[in-house]
């Protein structure tokens, strides 16, 4: 009997176009999700872990997503909840800023003043209460409206504004402190 070669296993792509579309929408969302995760975590390595976890959870729970609603809001909320869970588990360890990762952006040395500001702002944001950090991420970094942030957080718009105002005071203080004495930005 003629010896046949190895069987070719033709493994077709998944037959559900909705699932492919879902994956692609998640892929498009990744940069924004990662940036939001950076605001939450203050460190690139932690942000990447959180982003990966959020995407994985979104994939495994995609049947819970309601088509026609905002995927970014849904996935950001997944990331926020994961982060809250992690913080509860690590509360005694506190937050940290991975300065090496900031350095990895290539800004330090090229523009020392700007790099210093970045470190100060990232450190300042990392030190904010979690609820203020989320609002900074959504409104200041991602450009969401107050109402959009309130909808995602399921909180009154006035609460979003008061959290944002308090967070801004601290960011402004960090910016002022990073300025050369007597100099204007």
């Amino acid at each position: 009997m003629k010896q046949r070669g190895p069987t070719v296993v033709a493994l077709k792509s998944m037959s559900e176009p909705d699932e492919t579309r879902f994956r692609h929408e998640l892929a498009a969302l990744l940069p924004r999700l990662r940036r939001f995760a950076l605001v939450l975590t203050g460190a690139v390595a932690d942000a990447d872990d959180l982003t990966q976890s959020a995407l994985e959870r979104a994939l495994t729970r995609q049947r819970l997503f309601t088509p026609g609603t905002r995927m970014d809001s849904w996935v950001f909320r997944i990331a926020q909840n994961l982060w809250i869970d992690q913080m509860r588990a690590k509360r005694s360890r506190g937050t940290h800023l991975d300065l090496e990762e900031v350095d990895a952006t290539g800004t330090i040395g090229e523009d020392h003043e700007m790099a210093t500001d970045r470190i100060d702002i990232a450190r300042t944001v990392a030190a904010l209460p979690e609820e203020q950090r989320v609002v900074v991420g959504l409104v200041l970094v991602e450009g969401w409206s107050y109402q959009e942030a309130a909808d995602m957080l399921k909180t009154p718009i006035g609460t979003v504004m008061s959290r944002l105002s308090r967070a801004r005071e601290k960011i402004r203080a960090a910016l002022d402190a990073s300025e050369p004495a007597g100099g204007a930005r």
Binding site: T7, V9, D48, Q52, S165
Partner: protein
């Protein structure tokens, strides 16, 4: 008379959150109150600084794990064991190379990833210094994760039955230490899941190839005489029954 806006209104104005009528009223007040103009500038400054700061941090390269997920998400289709023919001209690797995973299959429980990884070698196989340990995350993934879903560092890429009646699943996995990406196949026997083959991808740490499965995996799968890939419904049903027919 112009009513002095509240601090919240000033912040809303700076952030462009007010409607047209409200915006006009705040702008009228700004002419009269220099401190409000300074407050608007402060708000805009904090917004710009925060945005630029995190935008710059986001320019850092993706971690290998996240990059792998990004590739998987963006792939037009899930490519799996697509060819059993070696791109280097050999239909199967030398027996001495792939005999290791096949022989080991009988004793390797699917907890392999928790052993101390020695890393890749010239023959492409992944080995452990301390041997595998059972009952780990990979068993859970094999048992319950649908194809295409990412679970930790593992993605199941396909499920299929083989000639001896077992159900098998091909997977991709990122392993540490060494940041090795490997392709593997596990089959479910009477004593649970066991690894049939696990082979490091060419390209080393962090490497990613959209088409899963190397020659070693392909050869091992061919030796099992696989049937066609299960469709989503069949796979879901088997997962629901604990992989029992």
């Amino acid at each position: 008379m112009t009513v002095k806006p509240t601090p919240e209104e000033v912040m809303g104005y700076a952030d462009g959150q007010l409607d047209a009528g409200h915006t006009k009223r705040v702008e009228q007040a700004l002419f009269l109150y220099p401190e409000l103009r300074a407050a608007v500038e402060d708000h805009r400054r904090t917004r710009a600084a925060a945005h630029e700061d995190f935008e710059a941090m986001a320019a850092a390269p993706l971690s290998p794990g996240l990059a792998r997920v990004a590739e998987m998400l963006a792939a037009p289709q899930r490519a799996v064991v697509h060819s059993m023919t070696s791109r280097r001209g050999s239909a199967r690797p030398p027996a001495s190379v792939w005999a290791w995973p096949v022989a080991a299959a009988a004793c390797l429980a699917v907890g392999v990833v928790s052993g101390t990884l020695v890393g890749g070698s010239d023959d492409g196989l992944v080995r452990w210094r301390d041997g595998p340990s059972a009952g780990t995350e990979l068993t859970r993934v094999m048992e319950g994760a649908p194809s295409g879903a990412v679970s930790g560092n593992t993605v199941v890429v396909a499920s299929f039955a083989v000639a001896d009646g077992r159900h098998c699943r091909q997977f991709e996995i990122g392993l540490k230490p060494g940041n090795v990406t490997a392709d593997g196949v596990a089959c479910r026997g009477e004593r649970g899941w066991s690894v049939v083959v696990l082979a490091q991808r060419p390209g080393g740490a962090g490497g990613y190839q959209a088409a899963g499965g190397g020659d070693l995996v392909a050869a091992a799968v061919a030796g099992l005489k696989p049937g066609p890939r299960m469709d989503v419904d069949a796979e879901r049903a088997l997962i629901g029954r604990g992989w029992k027919n």
